[in-house]
Symmetry: C2
């Protein structure tokens, strides 16, 4: 049985202000919930229509499909919905390459980028305050559990850059050096810009190097690469240079 | 003024069977429409609330915002909607690397992959018949006009592979050769598999080589890379090997 106040609390977690207020976020779907249960994140409550999870019974509530539908933001909710506690970020370690995002707005892009960090072993992801919230349900879903394995923090990028100090700061620009023939530094910060406007002016001033992914088509009409695919290319090239 | 039969025809184009029946597809938004008007594709009709396009006046119909709303699939329609004629694909040229998709279902993934082909100069994209239709409005939108510059055809992949004959056929598998240390052939077919199930069994039997994008994280828990980001990594590495 789900109470009215539970429904109100949980549906409210679709909004960032409520996630911040209660320190909680939503995970939907069997696969996602299993990944989070196996992580270091703490379960608040698991609502499920079937007993298929290894979760503490004190924190598990069996519900009906009709009740799940009331809690879920999905049009076809999938068996279960869990509430986890938001963990404050540990301070970035700044060992190796740190990825920084300057105003990424699309939840799918952020989720994909978190997944890429996990795949390519990037430990620290720093987001500007106007980047979409990483506990947004769509980001959580797109990140496929990778969000539990990447240290994500939010801070102004000029604060990040001044606080580290002295390491190379890279950004992608058309006039930049060819990424395939220039060395991406083993220690440094790589900044990816907003979907429509790229890297903001005040951050551009703080860059120490500009790099570019060359275009190979015959036409020069192609739009820029999507920010998530550009991130894939850059992180792949970084690891190739480091290891092979 | 938009007639009832026009509304019926145009909203019907959201479905593949109607696109095939009438040989027409929808493009929405100023940017997308401009790209298509500058391409080799033939305009059928442009519906617009503002005269901002260079389109033949005989094919342009000024409409009100209320009328646009009736035609559009978007919740906030953007100034104009255009109907273009579907062009039959020219036969793949098989010069260079051909990308082939085995059952890609997500329109956003297909749109992103088309954009990547355009960026990395891949001329021919061949899709298995169960791949999402490239004239699906969501694919058209995600491809950002790149769809006008890549030659896309649909055919069973075993037909493709047998008809070319003799060229290397590559697919991505965990046990494959490291893509960073193996040479991707200049001429060949690279196959990307379905989001959930990868490359189908009958296509796997026809592969001549298996390749792999190594994982660098500490954990071995990461899900596979998303198919669009994996395509980005492979096409980038292909061009790097060819050119640098």
């Amino acid at each position: 049985m789900v109470s009215k106040s539970q429904i109100k609390l949980i549906t409210g977690l679709a909004q960032k202000k409520n996630r911040t207020k209660y320190g909680l976020f939503i995970v939907e779907g069997i696969k996602g919930i299993s990944e989070f249960l196996n992580s270091h994140l703490e379960l608040d409550t698991l609502f499920t229509t079937q007993q298929i999870f290894r979760a503490p019974s004190a924190k598990t509530q069996e519900i009906t499909e009709a009740e799940l539908k009331k809690l879920s933001a999905l049009t076809t909710p999938q068996t279960a919905l869990a509430i986890f506690k938001i963990l404050g970020p540990t301070a970035p370690s700044f060992s190796g390459l740190t990825l920084a995002l300057d105003g990424i707005r699309d939840p799918g892009n952020l989720g994909t980028i978190i997944r890429l960090c996990d795949w390519f072993g990037i430990e620290d992801l720093v987001c500007s305050p106007d980047t979409v919230d990483c506990y947004n349900p769509k980001v959580v879903q797109a990140s496929m559990g990778s969000i539990t394995r990447v240290n994500i923090s939010y801070m102004p990028l000029h604060t990040l850059i001044s606080s580290v100090g002295g390491v190379p700061v890279l950004g992608t620009f058309l006039e930049g050096e060819n990424v395939y023939t220039t060395k991406i530094p083993s220690n440094g910060i790589m900044i990816m810009g907003n979907e429509a406007n790229g890297i903001s002016e005040d951050v551009e001033k703080m860059l120490t190097r500009k790099i570019n992914i060359p275009q190979f088509g015959n036409s020069s009409k192609t739009e820029s690469l999507n920010v998530a695919t550009a991130t894939a290319v850059l992180l792949s090239e970084f690891r190739r240079q480091e290891n092979y």
